[in-house]
Amino acid sequence: MCLAVPAKVLEIENAIGKVEIAGVSREVSMMLLPEAKPGDFVLVHAGFAMQIVDEKDAEETNALLAEMKGAPRTVGAIEESVSHG
């Protein structure tokens, strides 16, 4: 539907950002994301920065694991673990 990749903003000049994705750099338009600053990670689609990407939350995964922990094979158990976590 819409390929998009996260990239780090290196610099911005005149609403043109230089971004880097795994060492590969490209110019993208910052027109749709004026609030982004160098150092931010942004989601890039079709040459435009579309959104700021938050730091990946390790807690989130832990929460999921907790949610599933000790809940072997029954819905009730999972529910329980969620309410516990």
């Binding site: 539907m1 819409c2 390929l3 998009a4 996260p6 993208v28 338009s29 027109m31 749709l32 994301l33 004026p34 989601l43 689609h45 079709a46 040459g47 435009f48 579309m50 959104q51 700021i52 990407v53 938050d54 730091e55 990946k56 939350d57 989130e60 995964t61 999921l64 694991l65 599933m68 809940a71 072997p72 094979r73 029954t74 819905v75 999972i78 529910e79």
Partner: protein
């Protein structure tokens, strides 16, 4: 998380999905609306990991697939005009129109340039002042603001030979159309992650509430999809229907307001045709009157009669796109219709359901059986 931890988490999620699905005592059908999700599901082999009673069906989320013949015919007709240079995403190149494709037009000498960004069209327009550069503006809510921003940039830079041939589409109206369709049965939606980056999550609420069907926004890692499936099965198991967001690092409830405003400046909602679904009210975007000077159809309308009459084939793309049939139900699948000689757009596009079935071996592959 390292790869091993990822694999373990995936196994864990699959186990949970299997267990939860079992508690429902019935067959569950979830639709991924977004074609990129479709591809990840096939590439990662997710279907093979799921229990027999959890079925994934693909929806109308491939922009190439839902674009009807008449748009392609128009694009081809413009491409053949000696004064026109077409710029397009690579995806559109092989999509069949009634009689031909852009790829064929290019082989016959039409000037068609593949761009990574609609903005690239501006430079091409500047380099070719004696030509009309026409960008094929297709896509969903994610892509529409990039086309709109390109129009605004061209206007600002005084570029007068860049135009749009627009066929942008909106997701929520077509989801509703599907839910109203008696042939379609869906127990929940994997909601498109990148559309939601622009729109936010709120737009799905009315649908989820009105039709009591769960929806989870998620990203494009296999694990994210498994997580969304886990949430969907869980909602069903609990009898709930709500919008959840498993892609919180980029999807905000309010989306991207600047993108929404820029799209709204250049475009307005309009009825539009979808392959296999006909006209869906207010499901597309058309250029506002203020931007008519950038609309190739207004600046240089094609002479009447330049488009060929509609064709009839046994292609069942229309039904495939609604999740009513699978590609294997199409008599042409894998026989007359293969990726090298596609009959319908669902076989052409990388995100096309038929292409994904074929490419990733569904129904023809021995491994993993």
């Amino acid at each position: 998380m390292d790869k091993k931890e990822e694999r373990e988490l995936a196994q864990r999620l699959v186990a949970e999905i299997t267990a939860l699905a079992e508690t429902t005592g019935r067959k569950l059908r979830f639709m991924e609306v977004c074609g990129t999700h479709t591809v990840v599901i096939f590439r990662a082999g997710i279907r093979q990991l799921l229990p027999a009673n959890v079925e994934l069906v693909s929806g109308p989320g491939c922009p190439v697939c839902v674009t009807p013949d008449d748009y392609m015919d128009k694009a081809i007709a413009y491409a053949q005009h000696p004064e026109v240079i077409i710029t397009t995403f690579g995806d559109m190149l092989k999509v069949p129109g009634t009689k031909s494709s852009l790829s064929e037009a290019k082989t016959n000498g039409a000037d068609i340039r593949i761009v990574y960004s609609p903005l690239d069209s501006i430079q091409i327009a500047k380099d070719n002042p004696d030509k009309k550069v026409v960008f094929l503006a297709v896509g969903f809510e994610t892509t529409a603001p990039t086309a709109a921003a390109t129009v605004l940039a061209a206007e600002q830079q005084g570029v007068k030979n860049l135009f749009m041939l627009s066929a942008q589409k909106l997701v929520p109206p077509v989801m509703e159309t599907l839910l109203n369709d008696a042939q379609v049965h869906v127990d929940g939606f994997i909601l498109p992650g990148h559309v939601s980056v622009v729109t936010g999550t709120g737009i799905y609420e009315p649908i989820v509430q009105n039709y009591h069907v769960p929806g989870v926004v998620t990203g494009f890692e296999p694990l994210q999809i498994l997580r969304a499936l886990y949430r969907l099965v869980k909602q069903v198991a609990k009898g709930e229907a709500k919008v959840e967001n498993e892609y919180e690092d980029v999807v905000r409830p309010e989306g991207n307001p600047v993108s929404q405003r820029i799209t709204d400046t250049v475009y307005e909602a309009a009825d539009t045709g979808w392959r296999g679904m006909g006209i869906v009210p207010l499901s597309g975007l058309k250029m506002r009157a203020e931007y008519a000077a950038f609309d190739i159809e207004q600046v240089m309308p094609l002479p009447v009669g330049e488009l060929p009459p509609a064709k009839k084939t046994a292609c069942r793309c229309g039904e495939v796109l609604r999740g009513i049939v699978t590609p294997q139900d199409c008599p042409l699948f894998g026989k007359a219709c293969v990726p090298t000689h596609a009959i319908g757009p669902c076989m052409v596009s990388v995100e096309g359901v038929c292409a994904a079935w074929f490419k990733y071996g569904q129904g023809r592959f021995e491994y993993g059986k």
